[in-house]
């Protein structure tokens, strides 16, 4: 009984998550897609490092951290742009996007210096 109900639970969980997610606005879904892409790139890099070794460690770190950095910044953008968040009600989305671009610029400049 335990196993069947947990399977049903998992199925119900999956369905309700899916339906709730379908209701999010399109711009947020685009950001989520970008986040997914960045995480996927990070995973590829980690697998590659596991295969060939981590010798120029700074290069590996800069690659992985650029992916992690863009993920994190995109999630912050999503939080600030999401209209359901009361705290960011009076933050214009243009300002949020400008901050996002600025932080990404700094992030990638540092990455380029660190790449070696």
């Amino acid at each position: 009984m335990g196993r069947a109900s947990s399977k049903e639970d998992a199925g119900a969980l999956f369905h309700s998550l899916r339906s709730a997610y379908a209701a999010t606005p399109v711009n947020l879904k685009i950001i989520d897609l970008y986040v997914g892409f960045a995480i996927f790139t990070a995973l590829i890099q980690v697998v590659y490092m596991a295969v060939v070794g981590s010798f120029p460690f700074n290069s590996f770190l800069s690659g992985v951290l650029s992916c992690v950095g863009t993920t994190v910044l995109a999630v912050c953008l999503r939080i600030q742009v999401n209209r359901e968040n009361k705290e960011f009600k009076d933050l214009p989305p243009e300002r949020a996007f400008a901050d996002f671009v600025l932080c990404n610029l700094v992030l990638h400049l540092v990455i380029m210096n660190f790449l070696g």
Binding site: A12, S16, N58, I79, D99, V106, L107, V110
Partner: protein
């Protein structure tokens, strides 16, 4: 018709009226003028030693910073960043570019370049001497803004004033103390202010600014580890107490990722942010935040709580398992290095004494006595708990932060004297809250209109506030007098604080340590400039490639002022090399000459205080040389130099003590010297005894130079005799 009042002539009245500002502008004017005065005050209170002696660099470590800054301004940033110094730690050399924190040097060089661009032809030494007071002034400004963020503008102003004169900060930022802490405390407070602002506003721009503040702090001082551990701890506390919000997520994540990346650009720090145990807390909290907010998001999307509970269970167990496995693997395989001795000794204060004698021997690393707390903080010591009370009464994200900063830094200040410096900004801020809130309450009492006359007017014409005030006034008729008395008391305390701080600065923290002063027989001031005399003798009378052996305390000064190669210096990065020098100093002359020949030593420098009564000389430091040497070479045993556990230099001293190299070099020809009236020749004024071995003959060394007060003595190593 009523008589018109006599008015002053119209133009004057117009003039006066035109100057009359609105209340808001008056308040702004008062605030700005107070801040300007505090800025100037913070600068000039640190200038005692420049006025009494001259504009010179103090102590030991600042001389290394000065030398590197000089190199930077002369050779440019690229050469500085890749500098390999062959003039210290002979024959090993030192990779200076990769083993220093460049923030201070780059800052001073930048100020120097700006001043030269504006056609002020100052010498780099003047810039170096005055860098610390300049940054202390900037710290007061940051303290004002931080206080404004935590509480209100009144607390900010009081915080600025308190930190401008607080002795705990002045001790390491006086003019001439060109050390990392002078800039680092500014960077520390600035980073904390920017982070608190980021958490309060949730803006990515402020988080980016705090990441840059953190980068500046990492470039300036090794104490940045405090920031990278306090901020995750703060995030954790907020998560646990349920005060988390989206702003916290934005602030911490942006600051952590960007800050970590920026910090890894400093060669000295390198990959420590991902490999060292001291930085793992930040990474752990980073991952915890991701999991936490992901769960929060899922909970928000799911309407059914039962499903969510199941999901929660699965995710939490997975996340905890993965995290524990990763951490365990990292620590067991040694990839994540454990806490280094320097920081481990903060958690376990007895660790250094048993395992790392070099750390234990530094006087600033000893635990703090109560008198040091009182000396450095004065009234802030009891205003601190009062401020904590006020903070707890009005808890917000910002006050929680300052409370945590205060408590953790006070703990560390109790462990090590040097860390009172880190606690000072927190103590000043919290005390400022207490002062500001108390004074505000008292003045509100004073300014409330006396409505004691309204006894029967309960018709509703008076507001409820006025009615309650009337009741209050009726119940305590002397309330106003009490408020006035308390205000006078507060004023008295604060003025006593200011007096104490100025006295402490003048008496205790303004000595250059390289120039000694004493009172002569008739009360006149006598200056001993022996150190610089000796270093300049070295500079002018020895061949340029001469190598000087001395105890590691004087290494930086010898390279900076004497411009000669040294064997060991204050960086103390190689314990075995220092132990070799310690062994040479504690051996008999025949064994020592072998060691000295193997190290190519040409000159030996010792510091001796027997003639002047100077007590920080090498004979008093000698036991540390024995301990450090004995830690690496078991042939040196500390009990050989003691008699019944007692350290003596007179006739009853141990024979090994009376014939070791250090003793001979310090007391050579001292047996004939009359130092004090009524005492026999060879009376050591620093130890207060007549020395035991007066008839000293040196076989392999000869005396090269002794300064005018016998404080520094330099000996030349004789080349080996010609063989028959």
């Amino acid at each position: 018709m009523a008589t018109m009042p006599i008015l002053p002539p119209m133009p004057v009245l117009d003039l006066v009226k035109s100057f009359k500002l609105k209340t808001k502008q008056q308040e702004l004017l008062i605030r700005v003028s107070i801040l300007c005065l505090v800025y100037i005050l913070a600068f000039i209170t640190r200038l005692f030693s420049v006025l009494r002696y001259e504009s010179m660099i103090h102590e030991f470590d600042p001389y290394f910073n000065y030398r590197t800054t000089l190199y930077l301004t002369q050779n440019g940033f690229y050469d500085f960043w890749n500098w390999f110094d062959y003039e210290s730690w002979y024959p090993l050399g030192r990779i200076v570019g990769g083993t220093l924190y460049p923030g201070l040097m780059v800052t001073a060089a930048l100020i120097y370049r700006i001043l030269h661009f504006l056609r002020f032809a100052v010498h780099i030494r003047e810039v170096c001497v005055l860098t610390a007071p300049f940054f202390a002034s900037n710290t007061t400004l940051v303290a004002y803004f931080f206080g404004k963020e935590i509480w209100d503008t009144g607390a900010g102003l009081v915080a600025a004033i308190l930190i401008a004169v607080c002795p705990g900060y002045i001790s390491r930022s006086v003019a001439g103390s060109y050390d990392n802490e002078g800039v680092a405390i500014f960077a520390l407070l600035f980073t904390f202010y920017l982070f608190v602002k980021a958490v309060n506003t949730g803006s990515l721009a402020w988080s980016l600014a705090s990441a840059f503040g953190y980068f500046y702090m990492v470039s300036a001082w090794g104490g940045y580890v405090f920031i990278i551990n306090l901020i995750p701890l703060y995030v954790l506390v907020l998560l646990i107490t349920g005060r988390y919000s989206m702003r916290l997520y934005v602030a911490y994540n942006c600051m952590y990722v960007l800050g970590m990346l920026l910090a890894m650009q400093i060669r000295f720090v390198g990959f420590q942010h991902v490999q060292s145990g001291e930085h793992m807390a930040a990474m752990g909290v980073f991952f915890l935040l991701q999991v936490f907010y992901f769960l929060d998001w899922v909970k928000h999307m799911l309407s059914d709580t039962k499903l969510f509970q199941a999901f929660l269970r699965i995710t939490v167990t997975c996340a905890v398992a993965v995290g524990a496995i990763a951490l365990g693997l990292g620590m067991l395989s040694g990839y994540i290095s454990p806490w280094t001795g320097r920081f481990y000794s903060l958690l376990d204060p007895t660790y250094a004494k048993d395992h790392i004698p070099i750390i234990a021997s530094v006087s600033e690393h000893q635990p703090t006595a109560w008198s040091s707390f009182m000396f450095d903080f004065h009234i802030l010591l009891f205003l601190f708990p009062a401020g904590l009370y006020f903070c707890f009464k009005r808890l917000s994200d910002a006050t929680i932060f300052i409370v945590m900063y205060g408590l953790t830094s006070m703990y560390f200040a109790g462990v090590m004297v040097r860390l009172i410096l880190v606690a000072t900004p927190a103590v000043c801020l919290i005390s400022a809250i207490a002062v500001s809130a108390t004074v505000k309450n008292l003045t509100v009492l004073l300014r409330s209109k006396n409505k004691g006359v309204q006894t029967g007017s309960t018709k509703g014409s008076s507001s409820s506030k006025a009615a309650s005030k009337a009741l209050l006034d009726q119940s305590q008729p002397f309330q106003k007098n009490g408020a006035i008395a308390l205000l006078f008391g507060a004023f008295y305390l604060l003025s006593k604080y200011a007096t104490h701080c100025t006295w402490v600065t003048s008496e205790a923290y303004s000595s250059p340590s390289i120039v000694l002063a004493a009172r002569g027989a008739h009360g006149s001031r006598v200056i001993f400039d022996d150190y610089r005399e000796a270093y300049f003798w070295l500079r002018q009378n020895t061949p340029p490639d001469a190598k000087v052996m001395s105890w590691w305390d004087y290494g930086y000064q010898i390279t900076a002022m004497g411009n000669r190669t040294v064997i060991v210096d204050n960086n103390t990065w190689n314990n075995t090399h220092i132990a070799t020098v310690g062994r040479a100093m504690s051996s008999y002359e025949d064994e020592a000459i072998e060691i000295m020949r193997s190290l190519d030593v040409d000159y030996v420098l010792v510091v001796f205080g027997g003639v002047t009564g100077y007590s920080s000389d090498d004979i008093n430091k000698f036991l540390w040389m024995v301990r450090i040497g004995g830690g690496v070479f078991p042939v040196i045993k500390e009990p050989d130099y003691l008699v019944n556990g007692e350290y003596r230099v007179d006739k009853g001293a141990a024979p090994k003590m009376l014939n070791c190299l250090m003793y001979k070099l310090c007391y050579y020809r001292f047996g004939e010297m009359l130092t004090e009236y009524g005492k026999p020749p060879g009376y050591d004024r620093a130890r207060g005894v007549e020395i035991g071995n007066k008839d000293i003959k040196l076989e392999h060394l000869e005396e090269a130079f002794t300064t005018s007060n016998w404080i520094v003595r330099i000996y030349k190593v004789k080349p080996p005799n010609n063989r028959w």
